[in-house]
Symmetry: C2
Subunit: 491 residues, 2 copies
């Protein structure tokens, strides 16, 4: 029986690269009777066809059809990563088993440590860290949902996409670490690695940022941070990382209530948001205000090409009231909408209907879902030097469009993609889409099909004008301030 996993390098602490590619995973505390995190993970790993999953629980012989072991040391195969969902009181004994089994990493879903404010629990955390150092393995957490690494089939949620992408996300919150990939999936965001690191007992935000700055699989980095333990180191690493790749940061605990919650959540003493945001900007990171804005900014960084360095935008789409609203929302967030000159307006009027139309920017004509009209509008307006991006919106909530099948994949999406790509090629300006999702089943299938069409064709899709504008203002400010980004932006 091969008890050691790392006989090849006994006593050497594994690299994060090794941590992210485990050969076998044990799930300690999995039960056959109760649907807690441990069973969810076993279920998810099975669905993802992870090759070697070992539930551990002395009470069961089998969990979800897999052989269940009484203890970690009973497992015959190699175990590199251990996922732990047992009470805090029992973890020290388990860590001895982890050392004996020579695992690379131990992820504690288990909560009830330093974040409770209890001195004994904080002491327990220190003892855990000593055992990890001595045993030559890393600790993820405690109080988190751990690792999601698509290329390794290492998942921590059901239905997680298995195709990798260029975005890394680190999160002090397990909820956000689950929600962000799920919620952004339809927008086309895919991830190299997602790390939920909770109380940051061992692996922390600074080490992770440093790793991702050099990770060839990662081009864009997102971070949800409640508090950092070594502020100086963090700011130094952040500046070094942001000099190489865009880093988007949502600092949780932005208000008094948020700060209180953050302390109770991960024992983080959060600092002043104003100072934190200022330091982020100084480090050339991109601060955002919430998880949705994180998704929007990641979408812009991933799919807007070329990334503008100026806020002048043209807005086009069908509907008068929605155009007024869209124009309001854009300028309120800080995108400028340069007025179209009489000459440009006249050129547009040659081929677009005048009745029921608005020609000044925003452009609204009754036929602006017809590919010919979109093509004409984008090519004429795209040549205006003050316009740096072309934004196409589909009204406030075009449920009747979707419902009536007028904007189907064949009638609308595919031809629209064709003319939009042509306009981008001819004008050198990026095209962005604002499409509000239905908030019910009515029209949802049609909306999702349209979204999928645009996303698979490489377009950035935003769910409202406000969100689109806010994200672009953030990204443009970053792009202007950032010397290294010049190569990315051609407009």
């Amino acid at each position: 029986m091969d008890m050691g996993n790392r006989l090849e390098r006994p006593g050497v602490t594994p690299t994060l690269d090794e941590v992210f590619c485990p050969r076998g995973v044990a799930v300690v505390g999995a039960s056959a009777s109760n649907l807690s995190f441990a069973e969810l993970v076993v279920h998810a790993l099975k669905d993802a066809k992870f090759p070697a999953i070992y539930p551990v629980n002395p009470k069961y012989k089998e969990v979800l059809g897999l052989a269940c072991y009484a203890s970690l040391t009973d497992i015959p195969g190699a175990v590199d990563h251990v996922i732990v969902n047992i009470p805090a009181e029992s973890v020290l004994k388990l860590l001895d088993d982890c050392a004996a089994k020579r695992v690379r990493s131990v992820h504690f879903f288990t909560a009830g440590f330093g974040e409770t404010g209890d001195a004994e629990r904080a002491e327990l955390e220190r003892a855990m860290l000593v055992k990890a150092k001595a045993g030559g393995f890393r600790i993820i957490g405690p109080n988190c949902i751990g690792l999601y690494v698509p290329k390794s089939r290492l998942v921590n949620n059901l239905n997680s996409p298995l195709e990798p992408g260029p975005i890394a996300f680190i999160s002090q919150s397990g909820g956000h670490a689950q929600n962000l990939p799920n919620y952004s999936r339809a927008r086309g965001l895919r991830f190299s690695k997602v790390v939920s690191y909770g109380n940051a007992l061992d692996v922390n935000e600074s080490e992770l940022l440093d790793y991702f700055s050099r990770d060839p699989e990662t081009q864009i980095i997102g971070a949800y941070i409640e508090g950092v333990k070594d502020g100086k180191r963090f700011m130094r690493v952040l500046a070094e990382t942001a000099a190489r790749k865009p880093v988007v940061i949502y600092k949780g605990g932005r208000t008094e209530a948020g700060r209180r919650a953050a302390y109770g959540h991960t024992a983080s003493m959060t600092s002043s948001v104003a100072i934190f945001d200022a330091l982020c900007r100084q480090a050339k990171a991109i601060p955002v205000d919430d998880v949705e804005e994180m998704i929007d900014v990641l979408t812009a960084l991933r799919f807007v090409h070329p990334l503008p360095r100026d806020t002048g935008a043209a807005l086009m789409g069908a509907g008068g009231g929605p155009s007024v609203l869209a124009g309001d929302e854009m300028e309120k967030e800080g995108l400028r909408m340069p007025c179209l000159s009489p000459a440009v307006q006249a050129e547009l009027k040659q081929s677009l209907p005048v009745a029921g139309s608005i020609f000044i920017n925003p452009l609204d004509t009754p036929n602006l879902t017809a590919p010919d009209a979109i093509s004409k509008a984008m090519q004429v307006i795209g040549r205006v030097p003050e316009i740096h991006m072309l934004i196409y919106h589909l009204g406030f909530h075009p449920i009747s469009h979707w419902g009536l099948g007028r904007l189907s994949l064949e009638n609308f999406v595919k031809p629209a993609i064709g003319v939009m790509k042509e306009a981008m090629r001819k004008t050198g300006k990026p095209v962005l889409l604002a499409m509000r999702p239905p908030q019910g089943l009515d029209g949802m299938t049609e909306f999702l099909a349209a979204q999928q069409g645009f996303v698979e064709a490489g377009f950035p899709v935003f769910y409202s004008m406000r969100q689109l504008a806010r994200a672009m203002v953030r990204v443009i400010a970053w792009n202007r301030s950032c010397p290294h980004s010049r190569g990315r932006a051609k407009s």
Copy 2:
């Protein structure tokens, strides 16, 4: 053949009450071949079982299975309301027919009038008004989608709810007039009358506000306004109306781009938003920034009972990161979250689990979807004098909850409604819900069922903490400033 509809009172201009209850509706310009607004309306009126629908178009004998007439005067029955979708050039002749037929009101969907900026088109509008005055009928629009009056089965969109409710909505935009009722349907908002009035050639915002201030079927008024033609009259009527009923106003054209769009849209010269908002507040109306906020504020006015006069709120729900985010969003928008005292925290800890929990406000415990835990939390926290409302949130995006069926109608919604109603009764504090909809099909059926359960039980449901908080801050400020509202607010 009875050519006259109002032989009983020849020459007398009808009241708006009469306009809102037409016996017969003609749809001029309906065609059998093309799906434009006219066919949509015929289709919608048929679905709504409106009793007497008369398509008018000399080219057809039949439209959507209904007899189609060559002209208005060929219609045998009474026609009180005429919906017009023919080119602007042909409208004067039609208005002669309207006078001959003695109709009560003519709604012009047709655009291409004053809003084009063309002097001839503006002159045409003046000629239309002269004919309406002489003919003793009212004009709605032009350039709008007209009337939606559920109790009369008078609809202008497919699938419009036919049960009336206490909210009136007037809108200078047809898009918003369609979207607001559709979009707010699942939130439980129902309408007495919705009037899209476009260019406001005849029936305008001041007359409508005045009408709704006295309409016994209306308790709450919403208005989307791009520009007013008689500012003094409008402000006087607004103050009089707001002294009787809450009035929520979204002023379109809040930015330079929005203003340009508004002029192109309905020929409205919009004024400075700062001045308009200040005047609204002085008149005790509630200004909002967009259509979604309008829906949120209407939801608060309709379903939060008693309406608080103070911003102190308690937040509870499952998930650490989501609780930090929710706390941040609440305080950022201006709701205060008073810290729970050690005594209150200790009382909560007696019956709620400590590990993985946050106890300070926000309250986050792993079992906070269990009815017993919700009940305990709400009854203990609801007794705190500084807390004026109890907010229950379901995380950022509880797709796994919905998807796994944990939050089903039977397991979660029905028991939760029971304990929440009990907590409201015992503490006298309102309970509000924040539930983020899935943005796809996954979990949507479960989400919609849960939403429907809560809404039908009379709870206000908001789609994010930010939206909930922003709406409540608006409504509380109004409630504090408004002497007449005291009777409404007991907390």
